[in-house]
Amino acid sequence: MIKRVNFAKHKPLAFLLLAPQMLILTMFVFWPAAQALVQAFMVSDPFGVRSTFVWFDNFKEILSSPEYFNSIYRTAIFSTGTTVSAVFFGLLFAVLVDRVARGKTAYKLLVIWPYAVAPVVAGVLWLFLFHPLYGAIAFMLKQGFNVAWNPLLDGGDAMLLVIVAASWKQVSYNFVFFLAALQGIPRSLIEAAAIDGAGPVRRFVSIVLPLISPTTFFLLVINIVYAFFDTFGIIHALTQGGPGGATDILVYKVYADGFLGLDLGLSSAQSVILMIVVIGLTVVQFRYLERRVKYAD
């Protein structure tokens, strides 16, 4: 779309205005992305001096390595756990805050603030609570339920710890969107249902939930993207993919193979696979957005 009235005579200025964005994008986005694409089909020697074109060998190698399948599996657990719990608690808090008459502002504030906490800090705070030697929650688990909790040694415990830290941070985001969606529901619908004798629970299941389903779907996609890409800090600071690869999610593996393992070809092949994942998720998100725009008309 373009304005009917516009500055048609100022073509050079238009290019000048676009120049900063385009320059940065070319240098730091398109050029590296193209290189990742090229590198994915090459094998280079350890010194990075010579590289040879090897077609799909990198992809074949990556897709036949048990570590990569472990990583896919861990990513699936991690992103499902994070998404489900963050969306569930986001919705729960939104419904409760939407319902109460008093103290709304204070409640809102107390739910929202974790959004501003850096993933690493979130990780540190939760690690402190869950630390096998000093953590308060670990202590309670041991005393109360005789559970020897150790995220530093046990893979399952470590996974639970990163899921808790990651979803804790994301609840506030979901809360904001659910609350906006709930407040957008016309009161008359709820009132009509109440007159027909539907109680609060029935109204929620039959009216509220279907009406906010577009928001729920949108948040599911956003949360999956978050779990896939924005949680690198939590993993890197807390578990470094360990113990024994138990929290080795895809994004962390790209970093570890490329920077710590110095295998450019393999890391780039993984980058390309991740790009395909992002493109898929973005397409899903925008197809849904188009539909939402239609509903609004």
């Binding site: 373009i2 304005k3 516009n6 500055f7 100022h10 073509k11 200025l13 205005l17 676009l18 900063p20 964005q21 385009m22 940065i24 994008l25 730091f28 398109f30 050029w31 590296p32 992305a33 290189q35 990742a36 808090f93 409760l96 319902r99 109460v100 008459a101 504030l109 107390l110 739910v111 929202i112 603030w113 959004y115 501003a116 850096a118 690493v120 800090v121 540190v124 705070l125 939760w126 402190f128 609570l129 308060a136 202590f139 609840v171 904001v176 906006a180 009132e191 109440a194 949108f218 890409f229 800090g233 890197h236 790209v254 450019l264 890391s267 780039s268 991740l274 790009m275 992002v278 493109i279």
Partner: protein
């Protein structure tokens, strides 16, 4: 209120308070740990109430590993990223909505495409570019045989120019993060809703395009700019992967990276939890304050930037 349900209301309040207690638990424990001596923190079970050692621990946190300098770095980076993103996006949105020129839609789709290329999927090559941004130029000069000519004409040493690096610099921390598809779309949407008559009137008054941008569009975008700034500030402050790659020098690291470097490894005997928690509090305070103080703008920014 549709019906009176005192019992249900009470239950809602109770559930909310329990939930919020759970959300705030890590923060509370951080405060408790940050206000005690290490010996007290290591007691099992730990004290339940805050102590009196906050100032000592904060001082120790600031002294340890250059945290003071790193907090300043974080501030510079997040303000730089915020203003950079907003400036760059307003200009491109202005170009795309108010000018008719070749490749207009190409530019639009190129910006759109970057949504699908987050830094996480192109880590290694982006790092290579930042390490030597002018490498392609040097290669081009070498291949075309123009290097000698350029060196003679300009008096520059091409070798030295090509070696220029963004590692361990503010430019390197900020520049690669300043392009923004979301912000560009946000301003584009906003500009599309601005009545055509405004530009007609401005044109009759003889306003140049830049004058129109500064005197009409900018004041009309101000609320969106504030809302977006809150989101971008938090985004910039909490950046992790990029600063981790591009800084090796502790004095150029951001606060978040500094904290990650202090993380206790599995091998370490007894980490100083009280100091670590004091650092965490210091690092968390600025973005949390921004979100709390500008809560209304924050919610608007969050919802706007996802449209």
């Amino acid at each position: 209120m549709i019906e009176r349900t005192p019992k249900l209301d009470l239950f809602c309040h109770a559930l909310l308070i329990a939930g919020i207690a759970a959300i705030c638990l890590p923060l509370y424990y951080a405060v408790v740990a940050a206000t005690h001596t290490l010996d007290d923190v290591l007691l099992v079970p730990m004290p339940l109430l805050p102590g009196t050692e906050l100032i000592t621990n904060l001082k120790a946190a600031l002294a340890k590993g250059d945290l003071g300098r790193q907090l300043v770095n974080s501030l510079i980076v997040s303000i730089g990223v915020t203003t950079g993103k907003i400036a760059v996006s307003i200009l491109s949105a202005f170009a795309i909505t108010y000018f008719r020129f070749p490749f207009r839609m190409t530019a639009f789709w190129l910006i759109f495409a970057t949504l699908m290329l987050p830094i996480e999927v192109r880590i290694v090559p982006t790092y290579a570019v930042a390490a030597h941004p002018l490498q392609p130029l040097g290669w081009l000069l070498e291949e075309t045989g123009l290097r000698g000519l350029v060196e003679r004409l300009s008096g520059w040493d091409v070798e030295a120019v090509v070696k220029w690096s963004l590692l361990d610099s503010y430019a390197g921390l900020i520049l690669p993060l300043t392009a923004s598809a979301t912000a560009t779309f946000l301003f584009r949407q906003l500009f599309l809703t601005i009545p055509e008559e405004l530009l007609e009137a401005a044109k009759i008054d003889g306003a140049s395009p830049m004058r129109f941008l500064v005197d009409v569009l900018w004041p009309m975008s101000r609320t969106n700019v504030v809302a977006l700034s809150v989101i971008l500030f938090v985004f910039g402050w909490n950046q992790y992967l990029w600063p981790l790659l591009i800084t090796t020098d502790a004095s150029m690291a951001t606060a978040v990276i500094g904290l990650a470097k202090q993380m206790p490894g599995a091998a370490e005997a007894v980490p100083k939890w009280n100091v670590l928690m004091a650092s965490s509090l210091l690092i968390t305070l600025p973005p949390v304050l921004v979100v709390i103080v500008l809560q209304r703008w924050f919610v608007k920014g969050l919802v706007d930037s996802e449209k």
